[in-house]
């Protein structure tokens, strides 16, 4: 807090800086370490002899002749068919984001412009739905969902699970769009759909981007639904990583899992780097005003 009156002592400043540095280490080091280790062979990253091998690359030098190797990546992506999983993730993510934004903007706009009691109750129901553990919903889907094991069913389920949150987020966004804007269009003789199309759509993009980011993260990160409703053939990235682990840690190909964890996390980090502001505004939307 930069107040003119607030004189900070040097010791306080230092301890504050030290705290932040330690926290950032705790928060980021695991990722940096995994990234570093993904270019080593298994005997180095999971060394029985000495963890220092992961840095000096003792076994990597012996096995491959260089300090860094991309063996784990080529193994996972081609042999382990991670390319298939990432293609499936792209399909699922794009479909979930576009469908849930289409449904969500229409629904949330209606909710934000209605003063009736039922609009409130619909919001409350959405809130209850949002609190449901995803796995309890999945257990309610019966045989068609568990037997088909294809992407479309998964997309449908993810859209539905995502819908309550999208509705709430866009609802609180549309509340900030002045009502006078659409009222004047209505007076000029627009129907509600025309108002939505010509007045609201041009100004709704900041909210839509935020909601889209959260839908994207949900679809991209989901494990519960995809692990249960998809089979080995068309797994998305996250359940695929789990399948590399095998039932016993020493069976499955552990280095494949390490490299695919890095491959799956990298796009997410880049995305957050660019859209940090939107993500933070989305997380706080419900909290600050409510």
């Amino acid at each position: 807090m930069d107040y003119g009156l607030d004189k900070k002592s040097n010791s306080l400043k230092t301890s504050n800086t030290i705290f932040i540095v330690i926290w950032l280490l705790i928060a980021c080091f695991p990722f940096i370490w995994t990234f570093w280790g993904s270019f080593k062979v298994r005997a180095d990253f999971f060394s029985r002899a000495d963890w220092w091998y992961a840095i000096t690359a003792f076994n990597t030098l012996i096995e491959t002749g260089a300090k860094f190797t991309t063996e784990a990546y080529s193994g996972a992506w081609f042999e382990g068919e991670f390319w298939k999983a990432s293609r499936n993730t792209v399909i699922v993510t794009i479909s979930v984001v576009s469908i849930s934004l289409f449904l969500g903007t229409l629904g949330a706009y209606a909710l934000s412009r209605s003063t009736k009691n039922y609009a409130f109750w619909l919001l409350i129901i959405a809130l209850i739905f949002r609190a449901m553990p995803h796995i309890t919903l999945v257990s309610g889907y019966l045989f068609p969902f568990f037997q088909l094991q294809i992407l479309p069913t998964t997309i449908v389920v993810l859209v539905a699970i995502n819908q309550p949150f999208t509705l709430w987020l866009l609802y609180s966004f549309f509340k900030t769009v002045p009502k006078e804007l659409d009222e004047s269009a209505l007076i000029d003789g627009c129907s509600y759909f025309q108002t939505f199309r010509h007045i609201i759509m041009p100004v709704m993009w900041p909210g839509v981007i935020t909601a889209g980011l959260f839908s994207l993260m949900l679809a991209y990160n989901d494990f519960t639904v995809t692990a249960l409703l998809l089979n080995q053939e068309n797994h998305t990235m996250v359940p695929k990583i789990q399948s590399y682990l095998g039932t016993n840690q020493h069976e499955g190909n552990l280095m494949w899992a390490v490299s695919s964890v890095v491959s799956a996390t990298a796009p997410l980090f880049i995305l957050v780097m660019f859209f940090q502001r939107q993500i933070i505004s989305g997380l706080t939307a419900g909290a600050i005003k409510g």
């Binding site: 107040y3 003119g4 928060a27 809130l127 553990p133 309890t136 019966l142 859209v159 509600y192 996390t265």
Partner: protein, 342 residues
């Protein structure tokens, strides 16, 4: 907005929610009263030159015929709820009778699958939620005191644990903490115990999962608190500085009361999230020592032979009841706000 246009606007989203959230919840409720069919066994007499043997085998045809007739399974009423894998009413009363002390009784009940999972889930919630609030608040306060120019990258680093999926986050930590990873190996050296391993100790496993939970959820608390700190008015703070309030007093008497509503919001959200803890158990391969309610459901649903829909549904319903108890204060608050705003 008139009812007619509201209806058409809301129809797609509403339909999706009714069909794929509302119906599954109802279906879960119905399923929980059914159990899978018993397999029909037949005695088969096999004769060979050395004599005749009678063996019992599953009559596949008859079993699948019953399955086709009644796909839900056989009606079981509250049977699934009170069986050994759920509320275990019989076992609990039996233990009550034979146990010498309360501690003994609690110990025995704690070994039943459902209660075991419940105890872990509640322990996780009770430890993680306050730690998340505290750590998130401290990080927010101290980041707020850092120069504005470098805050952007610092915030980016801070929210990383939150944006990765729990499975990946727990795996990344697990690989470091495991006996062959960097932290695990160093711990072994520090404690001078070459056999120290996470997997061997239940307590260590629980502590690790709880630490993971704090690591994963704190960024969320941080983000909300940080945004709330930006709205704290400056005048009272300056006045209190003139009056000689210490830094701690300022936080306690001005900042905290101002962001109090946000604190309850974060507490409830993270309580709800923690109640459904599941993926870290898979990530840390902790199935042996830590099981949560959500994990029980998952375990029933990935059963290789027969998917135990009935059993999963019964656990789901009880989880939903737990969630609703946590959710009740939020609902009451939203209702009050709605009345005021109208």
């Amino acid at each position: 907005m008139p009812n007619r246009s509201f209806f058409w606007f809301f129809l797609p989203a509403g339909l999706a929610m009714i069909l794929f959230i509302g119906l599954p919840i109802i279906s879960t409720g119905i399923q929980s009263f059914y159990a899978q069919h018993d397999q029909i066994l037949v005695e088969v007499k096999k004769c060979d030159p050395f004599g005749c043997k009678v063996s019992v085998v599953v009559d596949q045809e008859a079993t699948s015929k019953i399955k086709d007739e009644k796909p839900l399974g056989k009606f079981n009423g509250f049977g699934t709820y009170i069986d050994r894998n759920h509320l275990a009413v019989d076992q609990v009363s039996e233990f009550w009778g034979e146990s010498k002390s309360i501690g003994d009784f609690i110990n025995k009940v704690g070994n039943l699958p459902f209660y075991k999972a419940l105890v872990f889930t509640l322990t996780y919630c009770v430890f993680v939620t306050p730690c998340v609030l505290l750590l998130g608040f401290i990080i927010a306060l101290s980041l707020n005191a850092i120069s504005r120019k470098i805050r952007g990258p610092l915030i980016f680093g801070t929210i990383l644990p939150m944006i990765v999926t729990p499975l990946v986050g727990s795996l990344v930590l697990f690989w470091m903490i495991d006996a062959e990873g960097i932290i695990g190996a160093n711990l072994q050296m520090l404690m001078n115990d070459p056999y120290l391993s996470l997997k061997s100790s239940k307590t260590l496993m629980w502590i690790t999962i709880i630490i993971y939970g704090v690591w994963h959820h704190s960024p969320f608390a941080f983000v909300v608190f940080y945004a709330a700190l930006q709205t704290v008015p400056q005048e009272p703070l300056e006045a209190s500085i003139i009056d000689g309030a210490s830094r701690f007093q300022r936080v306690k008497h001005i900042v905290l009361p101002h962001i109090y509503p946000v604190v309850t919001f974060v507490a409830l959200i993270s309580l709800m999230d923690n109640f459904r803890v599941f993926e870290p158990i898979i990530g840390f391969s902790a199935e042996g020592s830590a099981q949560s309610l959500s994990w029980l459901i998952y375990d029933n649903l990935v059963n290789e032979e027969v998917i135990l829909f009935g059993s999963a549904a019964a656990t789901s319903i009880m989880t939903i009841i737990g969630i609703s108890i946590i959710l009740a204060p939020v609902l009451i608050r939203t209702w009050r706000e709605f009345k005021i705003n109208r």
